[in-house]
């Protein structure tokens, strides 16, 4: 990843700033859109919201063979798609969880973690962690 690529997304990644479509209300994250990817409505203004970091797992897989960028964190890696409590269906990684403990419906929370290193410098965003109620 080029440095400007990382820098452009810093605020959204670090502060979990998402967007809500002014027409259909869908939560769009990451990357702001001028045109809603779901309903196609042109967004005259970007409506920003802070994501509620709590949510639940909708589906998951446990990768035993690393995909691009995953090698440095070693297999296995748990990929998830989660629905956040206040909206947003997010692709992510589930960390700090044993592979055989993952369940659809499990409660999770987004925490800031290192995703990968680029030229030795860590690139951060958020990963899901299990929360015990």
């Amino acid at each position: 990843m080029s440095d400007p690529f990382v820098w452009r997304e810093l605020r959204d990644e670090y502060q979990l700033v998402a967007q809500r479509c002014s027409s259909c209300g869908v939560v769009i994250y990451p990357m702001k859109h001028k045109i809603c990817p779901k309903c196609g409505k042109i967004q005259e203004e970007t409506k920003e919201i802070k994501l509620n970091p709590h949510g639940k797992i909708v589906t998951y897989t446990v990768q035993y063979v690393p995909g691009p960028g995953a090698k440095e964190f070693g297999p296995p890696m748990i990929l998830v798609i989660c629905d956040l409590d206040d909206g947003g269906r997010i692709n992510g990684i589930l960390t700090d969880c044993a592979p055989d403990s993952v369940k659809i419906g499990m409660r999770v929370k987004l925490e800031l973690r290192s995703l990968y290193t680029s030229n030795g410098l860590d690139v951060y965003s958020h990963k899901f962690t299990p929360i015990k109620e």
């Binding site: 990357m31 589906t59 063979v65 995909g67 964190f73 890696m77 692709n91």
Partner: protein
């Protein structure tokens, strides 16, 4: 709009061809295609080329050199794993529009040794997709499908068993071994719930087809195959991944609808299917998405033998991507090759009896979205 027919098809054997370069593969596919034309064809009849590759070369440059067709219009096309079908589709459009009479389609991929920034090295568009491998992307659908519909890993394994059985009958397949449900379940876990035998291999290969206006096909063959339906659809899973996208590929359904409408046919009319089984789950959900059974019943469909060679809708008689292999740019064209041969009765041990109408389904998927392509071919009269 003019009618289009396929008059020749050819492909290299698919496999790990460390001894062959991209040039060798394209040459072999091209030559076998030229030679497959029943009444022969003068290469000078070819007026344009559509060349599909994911990442094995750059622009249209290889073609004039590799196949000795200099100064022709060559378009290089890429649409993820649906590259081959999209090259075919665009080639067909040029003939349907009356711009060209005879057109060549080539799909090729060298995945194993030449620098290939393909699938496995693909750069995630943004941080949230980092680390996702292709098996992972599909495995996410498998987990959800199992959760919603009770689909079992055994049923996924049956897809692998069926396709490996078919591949064993196909001299051009990457893998020629039979397997069992037990072996598939015990195979090394790649991305839960997909094990090694649930995944297609990294394959080298090339395939080609020659398309011409249906009203001049007789010059080349008395057994041309008509292109009667073409459909393509895309969607985004961008932050809006729908419940349907979690258990299948709505792009497949949309592309199929377009193709069936153009062909004025329905799923029940189809005699043979070559669909995009990059992973067992993909085949299973594609039975549903293409309309051969209801959503959620894909497991039952394969378990009851309905997709087997002797079943009501034989799927992937070639062995599919799982056993025949998946050189990404070539796959879509190779599916055309199989259906072409099937409806002409040329498939030997894998022949589907009385195949008249065949359907190919080619799918490209990434975390960001997917592209689905459906082509329907019919034995010419």
């Amino acid at each position: 709009m003019l009618e289009v027919a396929v008059i020749g098809c050819g492909m290299t054997p698919f496999g790990e061809h460390y001894g062959k370069s991209l040039r060798n593969l394209v040459e072999d596919a091209y030559l076998s295609t030229i030679r497959s034309v029943d009444k022969g064809i003068d290469p000078k009849d070819i007026q344009a080329v559509w060349y599909g590759t994911l990442a094995s070369s750059w622009a249209s440059f290889p073609i004039p050199d590799f196949v000795g067709l200099s100064q022709l219009p060559v378009s290089r096309l890429e649409n993820a794993c649906a590259t081959g079908s999209d090259a075919f589709r665009n080639a067909c459009f040029s003939v349907m529009a009356g711009i060209y009479d005879v057109v060549l389609v080539i799909g090729a991929e060298k995945m194993n040794d030449e620098p290939c920034s393909s699938l496995w090295n693909y750069q995630a568009m943004e941080n949230w997709n980092i680390g996702r491998s292709m098996p992972g992307v599909f495995a996410l659908r498998a987990t959800r499908h199992m959760h919603e519909f009770g689909t079992k890993r055994e049923q996924l394994a049956m897809v692998s068993v069926k396709n490996h059985h078919n591949g064993a009958l196909n001299p051009r397949a990457h893998f020629r071994f039979e397997t069992t449900v037990e072996k598939a379940l015990k195979s090394r876990m790649i991305a839960y719930p997909l094990g090694l035998l649930d995944c297609c291999p990294m394959t080298d290969g090339a395939a080609a087809a020659i398309i011409c206006r249906a009203d001049i096909a007789k010059k080349y063959t008395d057994a041309s195959v008509q292109v009667v339906g073409l459909g393509l659809a895309t969607d985004t899973s961008y932050g809006t991944m729908t419940d349907e996208q979690l258990v299948g590929f709505p792009t497949t359904t949309k592309a199929a609808k377009e193709a069936f409408q153009m062909a004025k046919l329905e799923p029940k009319d189809v005699d043979v299917v070559e669909l995009h089984d990059c992973f067992t789950i993909t085949e299973l959900v594609s039975y549903e998405d293409l309309g051969f059974c209801k959503k959620g019943e894909g497991g039952k469909f394969v378990e009851e033998g309905r997709a087997s060679l002797g079943g009501e809708t034989p799927v992937n008689p070639s062995g599919g991507l799982l056993a025949k292999g998946h050189p990404t740019g070539a796959t879509g064209v190779a599916q055309i090759v199989e259906v072409f041969e099937q409806v002409r009765g040329q498939s030997g041990k894998r022949q589907v009896a009385d195949a008249e109408i065949g359907l190919t389904h080619n799918l490209g998927v990434a975390p960001e979205g997917s592209v689905g392509l459906v082509t329907i071919l019919r034995r010419g009269t």
